[in-house]
Amino acid sequence: MVIPWRGIPLAEIIRKVEPTSHARYVAFETVYRPEEMPGQKRRVLEWPYVEGLRLDEAMNPLSFLAVGLYGKDLLNQNGAPFRLVVPWKYGFKGIKSIVKIKFVRSQPPTTWNISAPKEYGFYANVNPDVDHPRWSQKNERRIGEFFRRKTLMFNGYADQVASLYSGLDLRANY
């Protein structure tokens, strides 16, 4: 899926709030409002939804907070007013309707990892070489295309982000 997002670079926001040198990770939290979001009435996942990035990932110029798509403001169901987009983790980390951003020392909990730790790790990089335990992640179908295409390492952004993970075993840190 290729979506024309509009947003604000996350790095800009982070620079503005000047986290201290103790900050190593960024933790995000979604609004918990079951009256408005009926899915939250059932404990399919642990609410509120939480997500996290390493500070250097969050500071990468590709990471941004989306406020709109297709030239319009974000709709509620797409995660208004602010939604995280991390292009090389596409399909993951897209936490919606963010109400809290915290700078923390140690790796914050993430909802899918809590829900199924064997299936979802903290990093969630797009990686065709590491299968999800239940299905392949080798190829994908773009919305609007009939044929599947090969999924690219880091969703095609390897040149921009691979250096963030040098020395990290991506099979163990999925």
């Binding site: 059932r42 399919v44 996942l45 829900s115 199924a116 299968d131 239940r134 299905w135 392949s136 080798k138 190829n139 179908r141 919305i143 009939f146 044929f147 599947r148």
Partner: protein
């Protein structure tokens, strides 16, 4: 007699059309281009869930007949079972032709490596002999008792369908568990009615074994 005619002439065509309506709905939405942003996924999901639904509906026929005493409902069972196969066939074909576009290597590794696909594929394969042996002519040739034993695999097919569904959901298992619960209660009903009237059933089975040249009309009743 009059009631039989009503069921045959009116109810049967209505059930037939109703059973086709999910298919017509898909065709209509394909023409209308309203099959969601991801049409292939939508077709896969719709044909998949209707396969499971028709398996459950088919398995509910006999308990329903026993509970209500409405004997004619039994004659719908084969048609409903064939609709389960129809949707299962569409589901399988969608996966092979549309989703994977005949990438046989990928399909093979899916079947071997992904438990939810393994069990779904196996369930589909098990449905084929059931569909092939559904005509009266073939059923008579096989013989009541063997036919009946063969068609008991429908329980395995339905159970496979439930696990296929359960193992593919990401977090919300409530739907597959609901189908599992319905299937379990249908199974329990049969076990219960088997023990309740154990002698009757034993009598019927031995009868069916001896009397294989059953008349066409009574075959459906015979092959419970």
């Amino acid at each position: 007699m009059k009631q039989v005619r009503w069921e045959k002439r009116v109810l049967r065509p209505l059930v037939f059309l109703a059973a086709l309506s999910p298919f017509f709905d898909l065709v209509w939405r394909a023409v209308d281009q309203s099959l969601s942003a991801n049409p292939i996924k939508e077709i896969t999901e719709v044909t998949g869930i209707w396969t499971l639904r028709f398996l459950v509906i088919t398995l509910a026929v006999t308990p329903l007949r026993d509970l209500t005493g409405w004997s004619q409902i039994g004659t719908f069972r084969r048609m409903l079972g064939l609709f389960a196969f129809f949707y299962g066939f569409l589901h399988f074909t969608t996966y092979v032709a549309l989703d994977q576009y005949f990438a046989l290597e990928d399909i093979f590794s899916d079947v071997v490596k992904r438990p939810f696909i393994t069990v779904g594929f196996a369930s589909f394969l098990l449905m084929i002999p059931l569909a092939l042996t559904s005509p009266n002519r073939v059923a008579r040739r096989i013989g009541g008792r063997r036919w009946k034993a063969l068609h008991r695999t429908v329980y395995a097919v339905a159970l496979g369908g439930v696990f296929h569904y359960l193992w593919l959901v990401k977090a919300d298992t409530s739907r597959p568990l609901l189908y599992g619960a319905i299937l379990m209660s249908l199974l329990l009903f049969r076990i219960w009615s088997y023990f309740r009237s154990g002698r009757n059933i034993a009598g019927q089975v031995s009868n069916g074994g001896v009397n294989e040249g059953v008349a066409k009309e009574s075959l459906d009743a015979k092959l419970d």
